[in-house]
Amino acid sequence: MSEARSPLGGAVCQGEGAKVEELPAQGMVTLRGAMGDIADAVTAAIGLSMPSQREIVIAGDKAVAWMSPDELLLLMPHAEVQACLTTLSERLDGTHHLAVDVSDARAVFRISGAGAREVLARLCPADLSPAAFGPGELRRTRLAQVPAAFWIDEAGAFRLICFRSVARYAFDVLCGAARGAPVGFFPESDAV
């Protein structure tokens, strides 16, 4: 078995107000099921409480994100995915659910710096103002022409995921946006 390679091998670009980095392979599990049915198994598998609508619960290198009324995304170190799947499968034996390893299906980016919100606001129709979007929420939306999701990590930077095949496209548009001159639309004090 070889090391899982991230799609862009850790590409980085630095703009005037923001930095865009591709992060190493991230363990991810898609879990579908009725929220009530799967809550205990999730806690057992990853040690975190269930997120409510649009929430992401983060603790250290693990997180659970609400993706839709019957879908969660579990994040963990790459090496822990198999153990997580095993726990889920044991706990959910007899419960209608779907748990699959999707660690390799996506690219993960980190967007940090005072201009991070503006980077995303150039590409996503979502309201990026601090009043509308803050830590603890996951937003699935459109990044230019591809689907993406983002949240704010514990260090206050944005994490963004998109499908692996469009990693280069996403990186390119993110970098283009990061290189843009500051817009100055969001109050400065709220920069992440």
């Binding site: 609508q53 649009r54 839709s68 009324p69 879908e71 939306t141 459109r142 689907p147």
Partner: protein, 107 residues
């Protein structure tokens, strides 16, 4: 450029986050159905000027299909609701009647 609230994830979606899916509440006619019923299923659509029910998928989002009641002329949205129903829910019908007393109901 409409905005519609996804009843599943609660987001007020931009139209560019959605995929349109045509008229809602079309009843499927399968094997054994008459030619007329099947024609109606495949081809007959209301296409009204005014109150209309339609299907939308939150494609760049939670991926769920939902239904919307909308005025095709003024773009007024009377409400959105989950797709797991064969008829518009009562509160949607009430919301339409409150705004469009002359509405004669679904054909």
């Amino acid at each position: 450029m409409l905005t519609l609230k996804c009843p599943y994830c609660g987001i007020l979606c931009d139209e560019t986050e959605l995929a349109a899916g045509g008229e809602a509440h079309v009843k499927r006619a399968g094997p054994g159905s008459s030619d007329e019923a099947f024609e109606a299923y495949l081809f007959d659509r209301e296409n009204p000027m005014g109150v209309h029910f339609e299907r939308w998928r939150h494609a760049h989002g939670c991926g769920k299909w939902f239904l919307a009641a909308r005025d095709t002329v003024t773009m007024e949205v009377f409400g959105t609701y989950k797709a797991q129903t064969t008829e518009p829910p009562e509160e949607i019908v009430a919301a339409i009647r409150a705004r469009r007393p002359e509405w004669e109901g679904r054909a």
